[in-house]
């Protein structure tokens, strides 16, 4: 019996998000910040969630950590962490999971760290909440973690305040704090957006090294396609609170399936390519989450609407359909036709 359940457990994905919705009722109307996303993540794997501001990517990650106030946000669906549904467990249980099993690295380390407490104190606190150890032991652990994330002189640095650290060092300290309890799941929300490229490269290398060492699962949320290409195994492209395309990093970059992904890739200036004369921007603006366009949320900005007969894009929301295992896109255009269009356009660009 026990062996049976164990075997079943090991076949279960480490993290499984099923049909997650996060809605905020406001005076102006219902904000559907996340409106149905699904993905799975195994240990040692990295999934990148990509999207523009207001696409719901941060809201989704906060939901996984249970950081939405239940009185303000309406959550539905399932978030299964090793089979345990985080949306139905008690606040107490999620508090004990948060920090020990799953942790978060925020975009802006200066506002995520407390300015009144030393870096050491903050790491010690995070450690002692989940471990019954003395302050001395916890302090040793804090120094060890600071050293592990590449902070020079950790013995001295541990007693300094956040303002005494540079931007890159603060982000390292944040990572040290997130990893102090060896969490199995690390969520990094734009972890390098506030940093310079040379420091960004250091932090991304550090995250990859630590993942190899601790085997953690990582969710990285970013608007920078270069960053996901570098660190992610799978990608989820979000638009207007929904996932519009999902697949492995190679699939999404080399054979993107959704017109929005095409638009994103075509509108970016490239470091590694000589310019074409003009960039191809996506016309218009990202939609408001209170007042999403009817049908496909991307339809007002889509250059390929005419591929679909009638007003179907305006009327009917396309389903997120699997085209091959673990590969899906949300678009009315026939998948074969989409491949043709992409091949045609990509051919013109080269």
């Amino acid at each position: 019996m026990i062996e049976d359940t164990l075997a079943a457990d090991s076949r279960k994905p480490f993290l499984q998000v099923k049909d997650l919705h996060v809605h905020f009722p406001t005076d102006d109307g219902l904000v559907k910040a996340v409106d149905g996303i699904d993905f799975t993540l195994e240990r040692g794997q990295t999934v990148g969630i990509v999207g523009e501001s207001g696409s719901g990517k941060s809201v989704a990650s906060l939901a996984i950590l249970g950081l939405h106030r239940r009185s303000k946000a309406k959550l539905s669906g399932q978030i299964l962490l090793e089979g345990e549904d985080l949306l139905t467990v008690s606040d107490q249980r999620i508090r004990s999971l948060r920090g020990s099993q799953m942790a978060m690295v925020f975009q802006d380390p200066l506002s995520a760290l407390h300015p009144y407490y030393t870096i050491g104190n903050q790491i010690v606190e995070a450690f002692r909440i989940h471990n019954d150890v003395s302050k001395d032991v916890a302090r040793k652990r804090a120094i060890e973690m600071l050293e592990r994330v590449g902070i020079p002189n950790p013995n001295r640095r541990v007693d300094q305040y956040p303002h005494e650290f540079s931007g890159g060092m603060r982000q390292r300290a944040m990572i040290a704090m997130a990893l102090v309890n060896d969490p199995k799941l690390l969520i990094a929300d734009e972890p390098t957006t506030a940093l310079d490229v040379t420091v960004q490269a250091q932090i991304l290398e550090l995250m990859k090294d630590l993942q190899k060492e601790f085997g953690s699962a990582i969710i990285i949320i970013t608007h920078d396609l270069g960053v996901v290409a570098d660190v992610a195994d799978d990608i989820l492209v979000m638009y207007g609170g929904r996932c519009v395309e999902k697949g492995s990093v190679d699939e999404v970059f080399y054979t993107p399936q959704h017109p929005y992904t095409w638009g994103l890739l075509a509108s970016m200036p490239r470091l590694d390519r000589v310019r074409t004369d003009r960039l191809d921007p996506i016309p218009g603006n990202p939609p408001s989450l209170i007042n999403l366009p009817s049908g496909c949320a991307f339809n007002p900005r889509c250059a390929h609407r005419s591929e679909v007969s009638g007003d179907r894009c305006k009327i009917e929301m396309p389903e997120l359909l699997e085209t091959s295992p673990d590969r899906s896109a949300r678009c009315h255009i026939d998948p074969l036709r989409r491949s043709e269009i992409y091949a045609l356009n990509a051919g013109q660009k080269q």
């Binding site: 040379t198 250091q202 608007h223 960039l279 603006n285």
Partner: protein
């Protein structure tokens, strides 16, 4: 092959510019500091810009890149005379403008304008868009042909805004539209030079391309020059004719765009370019990344000799003693390093 229309891929020789619009010579901007405590004592100044020289030709786009704190924004603001230079000279259209003041400075601003990074902070929230875009006319005491309102509405149309939104306030516009308002204000006086300080870094990827295209179209129409201050090296590669790389207040390398990206000589340029993630997973896995250690040193107490030596993988003893002087290795390609080396990193 060497005209302004030359934007083709294979450009062997650097572009010749018939006329220099702006010449900056040994420009310095130091910010005095006070030591902490109740007794006022002067501390070492922050050397934000410490002796930079460069030129911008008419109709040219010069990219100015570097990490935060390297002095690129200060350089942009100082050459517009928004900050008083500590020393050095600025010549604009043949005239020494380093110390002009009063009415003369105001007239100078007709020739040079600025677009700011933050489309939220750079527009007065209590003024209508019409008033914001007309501000240059009001300040200069100019009444454009056909009246201010017509001129402003033409400008709005030119930058892709609906002229009927003349009486709206900035908060009614999205980030990309606000940046268009900033562009309209900057081109109102038909300047010859616009300093763009990180004009697209606050915008979403899909909106960035719209604003970049707008800036390029306006340049083609009005033949104006841009100083494009940015930390995003991909955007700079796209828009610039020449690129200046700064580090800790000093110029490390200057070259035309293709040379800088394809055959950079300075170890800092190598590290900077190799650190930029490319949106191509296979290439990302293959690329060699030159990781720099540590952070930018304090511009208040820069290292002796070459300012980059504390993070440079090639630093030797001489680097701590002697500041390398910028040398023009081939015409148009200038590098300040004791051990320059051609390397492909992109």
């Amino acid at each position: 092959m060497s005209t302004a229309a030359d934007k083709t891929v294979d450009r062997p020789a650097p572009r010749k510019h018939p006329e220099t619009l702006l010449r900056v010579t040994d420009l310095r901007k130091h910010f005095p500091q006070k030591k902490p405590g109740i007794i006022a004592r002067a501390d070492a100044p922050v050397k934000a810009v410490d002796g930079i020289s460069f030129e911008i030709g008419r109709g040219e786009t010069v990219g100015l890149v570097g990490e935060s704190g390297c002095g690129k924004s200060t350089a942009g603001r100082t050459l517009l005379r928004l900050l008083e230079p500590t020393s050095g000279t600025i010549e604009f259209a043949g005239q020494d403008v380093t110390h002009v003041g009063g009415g003369e400075l105001r007239r100078l601003r007709r020739g040079m304008q600025m677009i700011f990074q933050d489309p939220y902070g750079s527009l007065n929230p209590r003024h209508t868009v019409g008033k914001i875009i007309a501000a240059p006319y009001a300040i200069q005491g100019i009444t454009p042909e056909g009246g201010v309102r017509t001129a402003v509405q033409e400008l709005m149309e030119r930058v892709g805004l609906n002229p009927e939104h003349y009486n709206r306030y900035p908060h009614e516009f999205s980030g990309g539209q606000r940046q268009r308002i900033g562009v309209a204000r900057a081109i109102a006086l038909k300047p010859q030079l616009i300093v763009c300080d990180e004009p697209v870094s606050a915008l979403d990827v899909s909106i960035q391309a719209q604003v970049i295209n707008l800036l390029e179209d306006i340049q083609d129409e009005q033949k104006l020059a841009y100083m494009f201050v940015a930390h995003d090296l991909s955007v700079v590669r796209h828009i610039s004719d020449r690129v200046i790389v700064m580090y800790l207040g000093k110029v490390m390398e200057v070259a035309d765009r293709d040379t800088l990206y394809e055959a950079p000589l300075h170890p800092y340029t190598h590290a900077l370019l190799s650190a930029v993630p490319v949106p191509d997973p296979r290439r990302a896995a293959e690329r060699e990344r030159i990781l720099l250690f540590g952070d930018l040193p304090s511009p208040q107490h820069p290292p002796s000799g070459c300012v980059f030596r504390t993070r440079c993988p090639k630093a030797q003893e001489v680097c701590a003693v002697e500041m390398p002087v910028p040398v023009e290795i081939v015409p148009g390609h200038q590098v300040a390093c004791h051990f320059p080396e051609k390397r492909t990193v992109v």
